[in-house]
Structures are given as structure tokens and as C-alpha cells.
């Protein structure tokens, strides 16, 4: 048992542990020794201005960029230096910024690729049904070429594809970027539904207010460091949010 905010925390519920994570590009730190944790069923947010190191943090988790850390663990297993495919198969599904769906493949084939990281095919049909109920548009466009979907639909496909892998931790990098208000609502409702299922979620967002309101806690990242941690009531404190973004 360790403590967070003076409260004891059961480490058996710990999904992700990040300690002293640093990412450097050409000697310049993009992420500068940050630490945070995500427990089962939690939604943890990361907000901050452009260039704060948010995406670098997420890419470091799957070793898609080089990083150093004193501890980087997923479900008790060290993932430091592990290949992206091994991290994925251990239960972390990352939806990077910009969808990255396979445009020449059909929606159905994109979803099939989500199965690759799945540890067991038991319950696949039920999971697929649940995911398609979150994003009904994907059922409608099942056989359509994914490249023909709108930006919002592609984002839904990218999240659905990640969920098919039945991850223990869903990591989303700016899922609402460039989406219409309706599509943003769909994405945030889906995130709430995912969390209600007990899955842990790590969410990087530009929409600070929405993220802070939805998350159990939200870390503010600025110049590679966590400068503040906000809780849901802070979402209505626009002065605090502005300060979080612009610095004091």
C-alpha cells in the first residue's frame, strides 16, 4: 500500500505507474521527469498548451520515442524499453493524435486489426456488439473504405479499434481535435461508457474544461513538467484553468 493525497492506495489496482519519465529530443527535454499513476476504473487527464510534452509522454509509454524513467510499469510489469507491440499485447491501447486508421482497408478490416493485441478471443462477439453500440455509425459503414469516413467517424473507428483489443488501459491523445461538436459529444460519451466498464483511461486533451470535469484528476503539463493537478470541481474555475494553461 502506498499513499496518494494522504489516502492509502491499493497497488493491486494499479494499472500504470510512471516515475521520473524524461523524453529528450536532441538534448532538449520535451518531458522532464514527470510521475503519475492510473488505477483500474480511473480516468486520468493530462492537459497543457501545445509543446508541453503531452504526446511525447504517451508515445514514451509504448516506446515509440526514446525515454528514460526510474519506473515505468503496466500491470506490474516493466514496459521500459519494451517494443510497442509487446506493450500493446500486455494491455495498453494507444489512440494517437490524428486517428491513424488504415484508409485503404474497410472499416471491418480496421476493426479486425484491433484483435491482434487481444489476449483471449473469449467474449469477442459481446465486446464487438458493445463497441458498435457506442459508435453505431461504424455498423452502418462496416464494409466502406475507412479513408472515405469523415474526421469524426475516423476518430470513432480509431477508438473502436483500440477497444476491440480489450485493453486494461485506453490511452487517448486529443480525441476531440478537429471534430464537430456532435462528434465530440459521441467521443466523450464513449469515454464515460468505457470507464463505467472498469477500464482505466488516460486522456490527453486540449478541451481543458471538458477533460477536468470528466477525469478523476487532471495533471497540467507545462514545459515537460506537471505544474498542477486538478479535480472535477476545478472545471468550473475558469481563472484556475487559464492560469493552468498560461502559467502564473
Amino acid at each position: 500500500m502506498t499513499e496518494r493525497n494522504g489516502e492509502p492506495v491499493d497497488e493491486s489496482q494499479r494499472v500504470l505507474t510512471v516515475e521520473n519519465l524524461t523524453v529528450q529530443y536532441g538534448g532538449v527535454p520535451a518531458v522532464d521527469g514527470i510521475s503519475f499513476t492510473v488505477d483500474a476504473g480511473e480516468l486520468v487527464g493530462i492537459i497543457g498548451p501545445n509543446g508541453a510534452g503531452k504526446s511525447s509522454t504517451l508515445l514514451a509509454l509504448v516506446n515509440a520515442v526514446r525515454s528514460t524513467s526510474s519506473r515505468l510499469e503496466l500491470l506490474g510489469l516493466s514496459i521500459a524499453g519494451k517494443a510497442p507491440e509487446r506493450v500493446a499485447r500486455h494491455g495498453l491501447a494507444l489512440v494517437p493524435e490524428g486517428h491513424h486508421i488504415f484508409g485503404e482497408l474497410s472499416v471491418a478490416d480496421n476493426l479486425k486489426l484491433g484483435r491482434v493485441a487481444r489476449r483471449s478471443m473469449a467474449g469477442l462477439d459481446e465486446d464487438t456488439e458493445w463497441i458498435l453500440s457506442l459508435f453505431p455509425i461504424l455498423r452502418e459503414f462496416h464494409s466502406r473504405s475507412a479513408g472515405l469516413l469523415s474526421g469524426g467517424q475516423q476518430q470513432q473507428l480509431a477508438i473502436a479499434r483500440a477497444l476491440i483489443s480489450s485493453p486494461r488501459l485506453l490511452v487517448l491523445d486529443e480525441p476531440s481535435l478537429g471534430l464537430s461538436p456532435t462528434a465530440v459529444d459521441t467521443v466523450f460519451s464513449a469515454i464515460a461508457a468505457v470507464r463505467a466498464r472498469g477500464m482505466a483511461v488516460l486522456l490527453v486533451e486540449q478541451r481543458a474544461q471538458q477533460a477536468v470535469a470528466a477525469a478523476d484528476r487532471t495533471h497540467v503539463l507545462s514545459e515537460g513538467r506537471i505544474t498542477m493537478t486538478l479535480s472535477p470541481p476545478d472545471a468550473s474555475n475558469s481563472e484556475l484553468l487559464t492560469k493552468a494553461y498560461l502559467g502564473s
Binding site: 515509440a64 510497442p84 507491440e85 500493446a88 499485447r89 494507444l94 488504415f102 482497408l105 491482434v116 493485441a117
Partner: protein
């Protein structure tokens, strides 16, 4: 009329061979941005196997040449290209050039500079009558072999989980790995398929010529590569169509050019390719420009 039809069948048959070569090259290029100049030496290795083993048992020779083709392709991958995966396409290209020369010297040292001959597939050199027209059986078999293999690769890529993973890794290798796709496995499978396709090309060419030397696979590989570029390396269908077009043009030049001009047929193919690329720089079947892949 009959010579015209025969030359058309020959052209389609040559097109099938070059399409298979271009597909083998295009598959590997798609997955790791490697224009593998050493693809020809895979073809040569399979061809030597056919030449040496055909006299003992033709089924054994066919199976062994496929195994040798796949084996050489995998050795090239694990011994060289695996270690250069993160390097630029230019580095990979130069490495493949070096590997090509190395294999040629190895064949030279092992089997001599002179060509080795054997009557591979002798029975196939007869003509058959179709609708009152006599057609070379070998051309027909080559066309059938080409169609079957192209369809098989297409079905593998579109209907199997592993094939989908190959397509995904070709389109965006970083995202594919983030989804849990094992890049090492996918690359190895792709090399194995290119080795099998090289063996098919070796069979078609060896039955035509019956003679194999250390540089046997060089010309078909160069034209296969040119065809793949002509069709558009960014799409597999482009590689196939481009390879087919180059084969057809080369064969028609051979049949139709007057004797004095026939020596220039290779150069004329390149002229044809240059003109085509002036008008479609990204290849005949290239789609919209794509993002760089990491």
C-alpha cells in the same frame, strides 16, 4: 493473324513473369521501403536448384527451388536487412546492391562463371492447338501460374489475419506496432512470399532458356523494379500492372521490331518508361500522395 496471336500470347506470358517479379519487389518495398536489388539473386538461387535437381525428380526440383527461394530471402532478411530496418531507403538500397554482388560472386565461386544447362520442363516447349491456332504450351502455363500466384497473394492479403497485418504494416508501420502487430514476423512473412514469387519467376525463365549463370536473375529484377516504379511502388496493384506492362512491351518489341532495331529493344523499353513517368511521375496507378512512413 496466327503470328500476331502467338506474339500476343507470348507478350502476356512475359508480362506475367515480370508482374510476378515486380510483385515480389513491391511487397518488400511496401513493408520496409527497400527496393531489393538482390531479389535477382533469389531468382538465380532457385534457378540453379531447378537446373541441378530436375534430372533426378521434377517434383523434388520444384519443391526444392521454392524452399531455396524462401530460404535465401529469409537469410537476406535476418542477416542483413533486419539490422538496417531503421535506416533510410537509400542505405537499404545500397545494402541490397552489395548483397546482390556478394551472391553473384558466391554463385560464381560455387558453380563457375559459365552457364549451367539442363532440360528443365522440356515437355512444356511443345505447341498446343486452341481453336485452330497453335500456341506455345509454356506461354499458357506461365500465364496460368502468374494468375494463380497473383490471386493467391491477393487472397492472402485481403482474406487472412496475417495478410491484413502485412497490409497494415505496409501502410503505417508505427501504428501497426502500436496495435500489437509483430513487425519482425510480418517482415519475415513478406520476404518469404517474395522468395516464393522469385522461385516462380525462376521456373518460368529456366524452362524457357534451360541455362543459368551467376547473373541469371539480374535483368528480370531490373525490369521488375522498373515496372514496379512505372506502376507506382506505393500500391501493390501498381507494381503488378507496371511489371506486366514492361513485360508485354519488351516481348512485343522482340517480336515486332525489325532485326536492326532489335538490339535496342531494352533501351526502347526505358524510353517508354521515361515517357510514361514524365506524364505520371508517381506511377500509372499511384493514388494521392501519402504521408511519409516511419
Amino acid at each position: 493473324m496466327i503470328p500476331l496471336l502467338q506474339s500476343l500470347v507470348d507478350a502476356v506470358s512475359a508480362g506475367a513473369i515480370y508482374a510476378l517479379a515486380a510483385l515480389g519487389i513491391g511487397l518488400v518495398f511496401g513493408i520496409m521501403r527497400l527496393a531489393n536489388l538482390a531479389h535477382g539473386e533469389i531468382i538465380t538461387g532457385s534457378a540453379y536448384t531447378l537446373i541441378f535437381l530436375w534430372q533426378f525428380s521434377w517434383p523434388l526440383a520444384l519443391v526444392a527451388s521454392a524452399v531455396v527461394g524462401i530460404g535465401i530471402a529469409l537469410v537476406m532478411n535476418f542477416a542483413v536487412f533486419h539490422w538496417l530496418r531503421a535506416q533510410s531507403p537509400a542505405t537499404l538500397l545500397i545494402a541490397s546492391f552489395g548483397l546482390s554482388i556478394l551472391f553473384q560472386r558466391l554463385y560464381d565461386a560455387a558453380f563457375g562463371t559459365n552457364v549451367r544447362t539442363a532440360p528443365v520442363g522440356n515437355g512444356l516447349s511443345q505447341s498446343i492447338e486452341m481453336g485452330g491456332i497453335r500456341i506455345n504450351l509454356l506461354s499458357v502455363i506461365t500465364i496460368v501460374l502468374g494468375v494463380v500466384l497473383l490471386m493467391s497473394v491477393h487472397l492472402f492479403l485481403t482474406r487472412t489475419s496475417l495478410g491484413l497485418q502485412v497490409k497494415a504494416a505496409s501502410a503505417d508501420s508505427r501504428m501497426a506496432r502500436i496495435l500489437g502487430i509483430r513487425s519482425g514476423l510480418v517482415i519475415a512473412v513478406t520476404f518469404a512470399i517474395s522468395g516464393l514469387l522469385a522461385a516462380a519467376v525462376a521456373f518460368a525463365l529456366t524452362t524457357q532458356s534451360g541455362a543459368v549463370g551467376p547473373t541469371f536473375g539480374v535483368q528480370v529484377t531490373l525490369f521488375g523494379l522498373v515496372g514496379a516504379v512505372l506502376g507506382g511502388l506505393s500500391k501493390l496493384s501498381g507494381s503488378v500492372v507496371g511489371g506486366f506492362a514492361v513485360g508485354v512491351v519488351l516481348s512485343l518489341f522482340t517480336s515486332w521490331l525489325p532485326p536492326w532495331a532489335n538490339d535496342f529493344r531494352t533501351a526502347l523499353v526505358y524510353v517508354f518508361v521515361i515517357i510514361a513517368l514524365v506524364f505520371t511521375p508517381n506511377g500509372l496507378l499511384a493514388g494521392r500522395s501519402k504521408k511519409d512512413r516511419t
